[in-house]
């Protein structure tokens, strides 16, 4: 009799442990599914194909930014400059395109602008050992300043069809930005799991000192990470310009915070080293679904901001609970 009871308790405990592991792995996915289920009943038209595609299209920009942000946060860093880079690369690529230069060239220029300022972030973070927060807070400001300087403060209309196709076009009935986001995530999954660079990102996030003593070129890896984040921000900038039919110096305001929120919602630890790109896409979708659902339910934009803020705090709380449960 006594033996029986002990078996039961240890079984219970084991189920508890397994439940915890499942939660760690799939917790956010479960929340996403639940959210969708609730919205299916409460929000009119939520489940319609056109609305679902709309959600995906709307999250695509944040999705692309969050993919780069995941890399940065995995190394234990942060990139506050991506919103500003979105604006600058949009303005630059549109201006070049309007100057009559082939759109492929102007789009590449937009991407390069992003990669370049990302590299600058990486250089200061890696070489001068300034905290990434400070470095990218600086570029958060000066990159947007450059966008204003170059554009004179006004939106610049783009006429190139390729821009419009990237931002607002469709391919086989599906909006183009969705393809772009999907490609970015497949690529990032591959990079993180199947390249040395990806594993080095995790290693640096685990312990920078240990990484250095293992012969990992920490500085070079960090510069690559920030460049990649900048490059993806550049890509997002070009896509956004295509969607808005113009390069705008005010574009992308606050986007960095959405990207960070999505990454953390996706289970990546702010201290670095722990997290997966699959989590980030779920974080991105949760944020998109919430904002879409609120819109469908006629909740105004102001209240949406209030909810979004709450979600971000809840995300960090969840992150902390998770790391606590893992430390036991």
């Amino acid at each position: 009799m006594k033996a029986n009871t002990t078996v039961v308790t240890t079984d219970k405990a084991r189920y508890g442990k397994e439940a915890l592991q499942i939660w760690n792995r799939l917790g956010m996915l479960i929340i996403l599914v639940l959210l969708c289920a609730v919205l299916a009943f409460t929000a009119p038209n939520f489940l319609e194909m056109s609305n679902l595609l709309n959600v995906l299209k709307q999250v695509s920009i944040n999705g692309v930014l969050a993919a780069g942000m995941t890399l940065v946060i995995l190394t234990g860093g942060i990139d506050l400059s991506v919103g500003a880079i979105v604006a600058l690369s949009g303005v630059v690529s549109v201006m070049i395109s309007q100057a009559g230069i082939h759109p492929l060239v102007s789009i590449s220029a937009g991407l390069l602008v992003g990669a370049f300022f990302g590299l600058v972030n990486g250089f200061f973070t890696a070489k001068t050992k300034l905290p990434a927060f400070i470095v990218t807070l600086g570029s958060f400001t000066y990159v947007r300043g450059l966008a204003y300087v170059i554009s004179g403060g006004y939106p610049i209309v783009v006429e190139s069809d390729l821009f419009k196709f990237l931002g607002a076009g469709r391919l086989f009935l599906i909006p183009t930005p969705i393809y772009i986001m999907v490609i970015v995530y497949i690529g990032m999954f591959f990079v993180l799991k199947y390249t040395m660079f990806g594993r080095h990102v995790y290693a640096i996030g685990g312990s920078e000192e240990a990484a250095r003593l293992t012969g990992i070129k920490v500085e070079r890896t960090l510069m690559k990470v920030y460049s990649l984040s900048g490059l993806l921000a550049g890509l997002a900038g070009v896509v956004l310009a295509g969607r808005l039919f113009s390069g705008q110096p005010t574009a992308g305001l606050g986007y960095e915070l959405d990207a960070i929120a999505a990454v953390i919602l996706g289970g990546t630890s702010l201290t670095g080293g722990i997290g997966r790109i699959q989590g980030t896409i779920i974080g991105v979708l949760i944020m998109g679904v919430i904002s879409n659902g609120l819109t469908l339910m006629d909740v105004g934009y102001y209240w949406q901001l209030v909810v979004k803020g709450g979600v971000i705090i809840a995300a960090v709380l969840i992150d902390r609970l998770r790391s606590q449960s893992q430390s036991l």
């Binding site: 685990g206 312990s207 293992t214 012969g215 990992i216």
Partner: protein, 521 residues
Amino acid sequence: MNSVQLIENDVVSVSDSPSPILKMKGISKTFSGVTVLKNINLELYKGEVHALMGENGAGKSTLIKILSGIYQPDANGGSIIYKNNSVTWSGPVEAKKQGISVIHQELKLSPNLTISENILMGTKFPENKFGMVKWDDVYHKAKEILHSMGSELNPKTIVSTLSVAQQQVVEIARALSYNADVLIMDEPTASLTDKEIEKLFEIIEDLKKKGVAIVYISHRMDEIFRISNRYTVLRDGEWINSGPIKETNPEHLVKLMVGRELNSLFKRHTKVATSRVDDTKPALEINGISDKRVVKNVSFKIYPGEIVGLAGLVGAGRTELIRTIFGASQKTGGEILVNGEKVNITSPNDAIRHGIAHVPESRKEQGLFLNMSVKENIIMNELKKFRKAGKLNWKEIDQKADYLIKELGVKVSSSEQLVANLSGGNQQKVVIARWLSIGPKVLLLDEPTRGVDIGAKTEIHKIISKLAEAGLAVLVVSSELPEILGISDRILVMHEGKLQRHLTRQEATQEKIMFFATGGE
């Protein structure tokens, strides 16, 4: 009911019968289904030093955490009787208030604050009537406590500027500031010099006289037999034995701890390395190397197949020396030759390219990626070899990792297990395994068995010895003289950044090493 108990208390304290000040009875603790402690008994008497012994993973830390209120025992998992009252502590703060203080193995100081603030942290600072801190009183109080320990440290010094050993002194001073009745010391001597250890023992003797009960955890047998009155041995979360220290001996204790006989420490069979010296090139030759801070003009050679011990006190520059050789610290002078060829090393990456491997001093911060699996930790240096067109081949990585795990006898449930969950000894094996994959010629080991239990220690010594037999040149830094004497072919003794003396295995004794390490000529 309560009042009756209180009366009983008074009677007991008056009658001065030898009842324990603290008694743990049948303590059990389970974490998510895994039993960590099972039915542990521990009795502490006033004015005694009680050695708590056991291999890493035996449950000592968990027991201490229960004792100090960080964990609670399981429901129905035994009871703690403290000063004749059954107690459950809500947390470490309450335990501390009741007079239970812990000196942790890993220092828990605020590095950006002064010594005095750290010592008095957790007590109320003296204030004037406006609620402002009276700093002079703070310094004075801290100084008094430091003085009582015979320390001359200036209480206004910022803690981050102190050496590890000095920080340990601050940590002990803090524990004393609580007027503890029970003091738990978790490997307090791990980073102290012999002189400081003597000082610590004086303090402990003093505390004993004042009636403090001390729980003392250490892997060093000589210390245990010197200062303890009684011992308790744990193994695999179970209570094995307790008794007066006088009625046991080191061999017996080791046997209780590991559950099997051990031929004391590992003794390596060394070849007399003299004839070879003429015809073989040294694997590593160091000529007049210096660094920015400590290392001054050090020269030596290590031949293939040799294990050279690097002895010296904390702060003598041993770690700095091998970090400089490895390119982790900047070299300001001198040259390094590998296999007779001069090499230019400015980063760990350069050193690795020339076949130099380095197992750092602090496993957790410098050696391991705690966020990653055993497999990835082992393979991190070798990732390059598993690329095909830039893509990592995980299948091959798995095979290689499994091979190395087996080869070095790392105890894991699977190679996917998080390295953070391994015991210290197994973690160290993982770090060593990582380096083997690059096929090094020179292996630099910094305190390879610190915080490792005796069983794993012997295994690591065997691994090191095997590597030397396979032709590696090995340099071992260790603060444990028996370890250095046990495995080295030759011994270099450092003092204040200089190479003080070169001893052969035959002439080396603990006394001689200490003589030169303390500056003898």
